[in-house]
Point group: C2
Chain length 128, copies 2
């Protein structure tokens, strides 16, 4: 019977890892492939040390994996379908905001931007 509790516990733990603006963006950016820390820091406009800390957390939870290329550390999503799943979440948000025209526009524009980012990429796995 604690199956439900255990599941909720594990799921909430992962959600907590994702639930940070920087980390959501990292997942978004990594949807298109792999990037090194410096590139991500520039994309998000935050200090590289911070990106590194985010990545350490995501790595500890096996959301991303690391490969090396010389002195650069390349990161990629452990499960590309995670990005697709997040995108589905945005669609739900967008629908929820249907009574608020202004924010709905933001969702729509942002979601399309995000969706397009990975459109022209060979993805390996698909959600569901």
């Amino acid at each position: 019977m604690p199956c439900r509790s255990i599941l909720a516990q594990e799921l909430s733990e992962i959600l907590k890892v994702i639930a940070h603006p920087d980390r959501v963006r990292l997942i978004e950016e990594l949807k298109t492939g792999e990037l090194d820390v410096t590139a991500m820091a520039e994309l998000l406009d935050v200090p590289a040390a911070r990106v590194s800390q985010h990545l350490a957390l995501m790595r500890a939870h096996r959301l991303v994996e690391e490969t090396r290329d010389g002195r650069r550390h390349l990161y990629h999503l452990a499960q590309p379908e995670l990005a697709d799943w997040l995108l589905d979440g945005v669609a739900i948000l967008e629908h929820r905001a249907s009574n608020d025209v202004a924010s709905k526009k933001i969702y729509e524009a942002g979601r399309k931007l995000w969706a397009e980012a990975g459109a022209d990429k060979p993805q390996i796995g698909k959600a569901q």
Copy 2:
């Protein structure tokens, strides 16, 4: 240009609301219909005051909606698809854990339990 940032900000905010074991379970339980605070408190085995606080937060973020029946406050998901989306998240977790047989079993059992919960119900209004 800050479309991406705004989107990430909003999404992470909602994720933060969901990212708590109790609240994940509440969403799970509400998948089958509406429940009052006392019923949820018993299902989760936590004080009613705490459930009330969780619901206040989820209500503020429009994840749930409230109706009244006498002195009871009935809650239901503002967007039932949210529960389905979370379930997809569990499936991703399960896949991620494929190298860890023990925890994979938990995911599988729990996910099925959860998925079944909403399978057999037209269901509205239930008293305990």
